[in-house]
């Protein structure tokens, strides 16, 4: 298989306008990933599947990752001119990162028996702009797994044939795999009749005003 750099170079040529960058992975596994922009992801996925040298026909694992916005304090050594002499001073600066949801695809080739190529897409934020293109039209194996991401993380996959909750029940609100998810005190809690429920209940159990009849 080509190196990741070669794949990126060929991908840029094959899908004009696609923004593909390599995200390095420092763990001993050495599985670096490709970050693609949402607008060209579908075309790029098709190319990865159909390219005769890659033929990544098998999408093994699809999952989501939540990256809430975090602020880290970093110490940086900066050269400064103090009293005419150049000295190195340690400065702290704040670095913001995260603030998006991520969908990760692990691709293999059953035909060529190589892989994995890790594909990533990121949403714009974690609140209202959480749309990503669905890759189910390219790999059917993403069908249930994208539903699971929608259910547990709240990424909305556009172009998915049947985007519904899959593990949680249909009436469930929230997305439990988010890092800031707070579970309710008691799942079993049922409201005693009040407000709307009470009004509805009254309708059914109106005491008969006139006796007899």
């Amino acid at each position: 298989m080509d190196t990741l750099e070669q794949i990126v170079a060929r991908a840029r040529a094959a899908v004009p306008g696609a923004q593909v960058t390599i995200l390095p992975n420092e763990s001993p596994s050495g599985q670096h990933s490709l970050l693609v922009d949402a607008a060209h992801a579908l075309a790029l996925a098709r190319w990865l599947r159909d390219d005769p040298d890659l033929r990544l026909d098998y999408c093994s694992n699809v999952t989501g990752v939540d990256w809430p916005e975090v602020e880290r304090v970093e110490k940086v050594r900066v050269k400064k001119v103090v009293d005419g002499a150049e000295t190195e001073v340690e400065e702290t600066r704040k670095v913001r990162s995260g603030g998006y949801l991520e969908a990760v695809y692990h691709l293999y080739s059953m035909h060529k028996r190589h892989g994995p190529v890790v594909l990533r897409m990121r949403t714009e934020n974690r609140a209202d702009r959480v749309q990503l293109p669905s890759l189910t039209p390219v790999w059917r194996s993403a069908e249930f797994q994208e539903r699971e991401i929608y259910d547990l993380f709240g990424i909305v996959f556009e172009g998915h044939p049947d985007l519904r909750r899959i593990l949680m029940w249909d009436e469930f609100k929230d997305h439990p795999m988010r890092k800031d998810y707070v579970e309710p005190d008691d799942y079993e809690w049922e409201p005693t009749p009040h407000d709307a429920v009470l009004a509805k209940a009254r309708k059914h159990f109106t005491p008969t005003t006139s006796s007899g009849a």
């Binding site: 992975n25 420092e26 763990s27 001993p28 596994s29 599985q31 026909d57 098998y58 999408c59 093994s60 694992n61 999952t63 990752v65 990760v104 692990h106 059953m110 028996r113 994995p116 890790v118 790999w139 059917r140 194996s141 993403a142 069908e143 249930f144 797994q145 547990l152 519904r164 899959i166 593990l167 949680m168 029940w169 249909d170 439990p176 795999m177």
Partner: protein, 391 residues
């Protein structure tokens, strides 16, 4: 109760039996909810089936009855703390679950496994495959109406293997045996000889099972040509394991990735031709024969030595920031673990790629056009365990 409900709404409601007028024709479609208490669903699994007479028009699987968000729990636990929880995923095959998770952490932290531990892992994984496939064949025949006998024959063999698991790990099903960098303990004295006796006796069981069942007329009539899974669809839908190979795709992760020490053993990958339910049954029988071969080689060659890397750290393991995806050929298909570390004592993200969950993607494609009775058999041949599907 003929209602003009649009057919698109079918399969969206829960727990109802509803009639809908057939689009563009006479008669009605009937929507039936099979499960979650149906005995053939192998746990709490439901299928919303739309029927035209007795034929399946549409089938939507409904999951989540056993969902406990295993992945979220693991994010709040240390790396070691999740190891016993992996037993509960596919509770038939806790040894392979342990191995897949250990392999992922080893990849993430760059740990090595001693020789003897690698052999023990292969032996335990192949024993797991034997008992899983044997029980699957028993359950499949039970679903077909062969009440009791085949399943009890299979469980008799499974019992012997579970006894071995109990002797080595202290538990029959929830083994919790593997660790990052090896295995928890060495085999007790005499265990390898006991394993050899079980393995040497296994082909006789297979011969007996096959003589009784493989060419049985009823089985052939009920399974041949039923639930055909075409090769291209199997690849595109990410189907793995015996189901994929029954459709004729030569893809076994033991051969492709050669994880552990699988490159040292001689064994073949059986392939199906038709991709029907009978092939899926037969593939499992043939795979058991190959597993016996691997076991005989491993039990012959296993060297003495330590079973844990002395440098491996279990408690307080903090891998460097990064991520790893590791996968193994579990009895049901590709079992993968995807871990992201942020340098802390807990994984930042912990993901299980469950094989039987993804194998269910094609259930509707396999069942469409067949009768309700066939749905039961086709589902039985997929080999699902709800602990893993719902997580």
């Amino acid at each position: 109760m003929t209602s003009p409900t649009s057919t698109a709404a079918l399969g969206q409601r829960s727990g109802v039996v509803e009639r809908v007028s057939k689009p563009g024709g006479e008669g009605e479609w009937l929507e039936v909810s099979m499960g979650p208490q149906h005995p053939s669903t192998h746990g709490v699994f439901r299928m919303d089936v739309v029927l035209d007479g007795e034929r399946v028009v549409r089938l939507k699987p409904v999951f989540g009855y056993l969902h406990r968000n295993h992945e979220k729990i693991a994010e709040g636990t240390t790396y070691l703390g999740s190891m016993p929880y992996t037993d509960r995923l596919d509770y038939f095959c806790s040894m392979t679950n342990n191995w897949a998770y250990a392999l992922a952490v080893e990849k993430l932290a760059g740990l090595h496994v001693p020789e003897r531990a690698e052999y023990l892992r292969v032996i335990l994984a192949e024993l797991t495959r034997l008992q899983n496939h044997a029980s699957l064949c028993g359950f499949l025949l039970q679903d077909m109406g062969a009440m009791g006998t085949p399943l009890m024959y299979a469980f008799r063999e499974r019992e012997k293997i579970l006894d071995l698991f109990e002797a080595i790990s202290g538990a029959r099903m929830m083994c919790n045996f593997m660790r990052f960098g090896g295995c928890r303990c060495d085999a007790p004295p005499g265990w390898l000889d006991a394993a050899r006796r079980v393995v040497d006796g296994f082909p006789a069981f297979l011969d007996e099972f096959e003589a009784l069942l493989s060419e049985n007329e009823i089985i052939m009539a009920r399974t041949q040509g039923v639930g055909v899974l075409p090769r291209e669809l199997a690849i595109n839908a990410g189907v793995t394991g015996p189901m994929l190979r029954a459709s004729g795709v030569n893809y076994d992760i033991r051969k492709v990735d050669r994880y552990g020490i699988y490159d040292r053993f001689e064994f073949k990958i059986p392939l199906g031709e038709h991709g029907d339910t009978y092939d899926r049954y037969m593939i499992r029988i043939l795979e058991m024969r190959e597993s016996v071969k691997i076991l005989q080689q491993a039990l012959r060659d296993i060297p003495p030595g330590p079973v844990m890397d002395p440098k491996a750290k279990l408690r307080g393991l903090r891998p460097k920031p990064g991520e790893a995806y590791a996968r193994i050929e579990a009895p049901k298909g590709e079992l993968g673990f995807y871990l992201i570390s942020d340098g802390g004592p807990n994984p930042y993200r912990y993901r299980v790629r469950p094989p039987s969950f993804i194998n269910l993607t094609v259930l509707e494609d396999m069942c469409r056009g067949h009768t309700v009775a066939d749905v039961v058999v086709i589902l039985g041949s997929v080999d699902i365990v709800l602990g893993e599907v719902d997580r």
